[in-house]
Amino acid sequence: MSINVSLGALSLRNPTILASGILGTTASSLIRVYKSGAGAVVSKSISINPNEGYKTPVLIDLGYGYINSMGLPNPGLDEMIVEFKVVKSKKVKLFGSIFASDIDEFKYLASKLTDYVDALELNLSCPTKMGVGLEIGKIPWMVEETTREVYKKSKVPVIVKLPPLVTLIDELTLAAEDGGASAVTLTNTAKAMKIDVFSKKPILQGVYGGLSGKALKPLSLACVFKAYEVLSIPIIGCGGIYSWEDAVEYILAGAKAIQIGSAIVSEGLGIFKKICIGIKKYLEENNIDKINDLVGLAHRR
């Protein structure tokens, strides 16, 4: 029973992937997560120049999920390349996530990073920064154009990460496909907020944050299910995956691989291995040979 999967030209030892922005700024952290069992790791989203992100508080724990407004902190392209070289020297399957405020920046980032990563993930869906995330990711033609320009500059597969806009997700994912994406990651966090009734102010300095974790799962899963009906390229599911059951739900909905973020808090870094074991057992019990045969089964009528 093997649980390796291929996403187009990319092949992974297993379908569990560390989601972007989770423990992903330093080489040592990315290597640690890969060693703990992930099939691949995605870096923190990178910009050309260093970015401090928002001031704390940047995280609200709701008990059933998190709202974060990290604001995409990262040390910038040059420093990240230094880290990536270390990561690649350890034969880690690495996706480089990038964000930018215009297409030229995206092109520049792609052309610089393409030599150091196994795939590029375009973050077109960050709900906290103006003009660099959702502002692109909610408009199909912008998704398509951005994807296409990055695709032209990239020697490695391009993955497009989109927001959990269930009602628009078919158009958005088709736009990514048309632009040349090898896969889509569904989804990033949902735009959300919380207000402190005592000070009468939003808690997060950036006002809005991104909802992740358990609360996000029903939305992201619906996105995967809906996108699977129109797409030809593979889908990577992401949002509130805490257990093998959650992972299998995404696979049945149409995902070929899955990303894990928030669950690391409660489940620890052992989650990658635990989910792989659970999926293996499930495949065995259901007499299914490989993950591929499970993908999208929930669409049968």
């Binding site: 330093t26 640690r32 923190k44 508080p57 420093e79």
Partner: protein, 268 residues
Amino acid sequence: MIVSQKPIEIVNILTHSNRIKTFYLKLKDRIRVAPGQFMMVWIPDAEEIPISISYFNGSTMGLTIAAVGETTRQIHKLKIHDSLYVRGPYGNGFKIPRGINKIWIIGGGYGIAPLLLLAKKASSMNVKVISFLGARNKDELLFYDQFKLLGEVFASTDDGSEGFHGDVTTLVEKYLSVSKTDLMYACGPEDMIVKLIKLACNHNLNLQASLERLIKCGIGLCGSCCLDPLGLRVCRDGPVFPLKILVKLNELGCYYRSPSGVKVKLSD
């Protein structure tokens, strides 16, 4: 565990010096605290920062805070009946292994504060505690009298206003020529920790030390507190690390990461 930012009333404030105060909070939620754990502390219009727990009796929690920058200065302006928003406790805390008879506790500056809970716990387990406390001056020898009640105390101050005039690590080194210990516990400035790691290695002693790095999420998610080369998180895998880990942390004493993740050299 208090998961989300929420205001807790300050029921008492202890002013140690013009730079350090302890704030006592009355908790409504029932939580458990291990010595060495920290809380994320916030007040609106300021930042959320990690602060170790210096006192806990089941319902009242003490947080000893040095005014070193914008947020800590804001917090110092608070009065009794005002509130601090806290979530936590987070992190792993100090471990007292079975069969230990005698420990040394070494604190520098506000790093003394979290060690008081540890000294109390060790004492209650009939472990002999010897404390080495270093501070700028006599006033900042935090909880000095309480440490004395729990065992022998050696003090050092930068200005010589109490005890040894100089560095707490020098004090420890001197004492090492007359005595030994099963295990050292340390919290304080990074250069102090680095010296103690060397001392521990040279004298074949064991050590647990609490480290500081930039904490943003506090729960092991964002990666801003990761240490090279193992990718360990101060907020989750630490803040307390054992010697066998400490010796591998080659960034200690050399650099830390800024809010963007850029490496910043520690000049020393």
